[in-house]
């Protein structure tokens, strides 16, 4: 009877070279296609044509926000309801909105006061977003407290 030959007690060795090649290729692919994108967020604006945004404003605190621009498109003046001027201080505008709303969030996004933003044509978009930020809420720590959910834009003014 023939005995099976005894196996040597050497370590079984895996051939890793090709696996490492493929893994490095994958790694290079992912590193090259990787894009660091900043976190983005949204402001919702509901604006049907020729009408208000949803329900009528029953809060009796309409806010008409007029944003005047300099010739370079910088913010020149913030005027509320054609009478109150806040210079270009967003904090004063926020304090005014806080005072008007009593710091209370509207019960639903379709309710509560409505802000109409009327801006000079050449005012840079970043100032429009700053205005929207100032009137829609405030950040307290990590929480965002909503003050106004309904934003609409006045008809565009003609370019100078």
């Amino acid at each position: 009877m023939k005995f099976a030959s005894k196996r040597g007690n050497e370590k079984a060795e895996l051939q890793l070279t090709s696996m490492i090649d493929v893994i490095f290729l994958l790694l290079i692919f992912f590193v090259m296609t990787f894009k660091i994108a900043a976190q983005e967020g949204d402001f919702n604006v509901k604006m049907p044509i020729g009408g208000g945004a949803g329900a009528q404003d029953t809060t009796n605190i309409p806010i008409k926000l007029r944003l005047r621009a300099s010739a370079e498109g910088e913010l020149a003046e913030i005027v509320v309801n054609d009478s109150l001027s806040f210079g270009n201080d967003w904090q004063k505008l926020r304090a005014y909105v806080l005072d008007l709303t009593g710091g209370n969030a509207p019960p639903t996004p379709e309710e509560g006061p409505e802000v109409e933003i009327d801006l000079d044509y050449n005012l840079r978009y970043e100032f429009v977003i700053e205005a929207v930020t100032a009137v829609t809420g405030q950040r307290i720590g990590d929480d965002v407290k909503r003050l106004v959910e309904r934003i609409k834009f006045a008809p565009p003014r003609k370019a100078k």
């Binding site: 490095f24 967020g41 840079r124």
Partner: protein, 145 residues
Amino acid sequence: MRPRKKFDTKVAEGDMTAMIDMVFQLIIFFMVLINFSQDDQNDKIKLPSSELAKPADAPLTFPIVLHLDSTGAIYVGSEVATVESVAPMLRTEIQLLVSRNQSAKDANIVIRGHKNTPGGLVQDLIKKCQELGFEKFVLRVREEV
């Protein structure tokens, strides 16, 4: 004199385990974070930032992403238009909506405007979309850190 020891003739083998572990972790990291979607990204657009910006809780229903750069060019997918010439592209989207038993009112127009774009151009774009029946607009901004 003491005779010199003979060197071991076996092949020197480095321990690859730690390196493979690390490389796998790197691959998993990049795989999880990779974003193949080109729809909502455009290198030409530098979004304005806002401290109130927070990612949406739920995905938008039928989002139509319009990238508006500082010169007034509008990028819709791979096509470029202006406020005056964007209507045909939006009509194509409306046809798609109708084929899914929806209307322009159900869609969300996502405006990714460059921070230096004149605000009036954004208003013009909104007005053009309103004329086509769109009602819901989303102003996309960068989260301020």
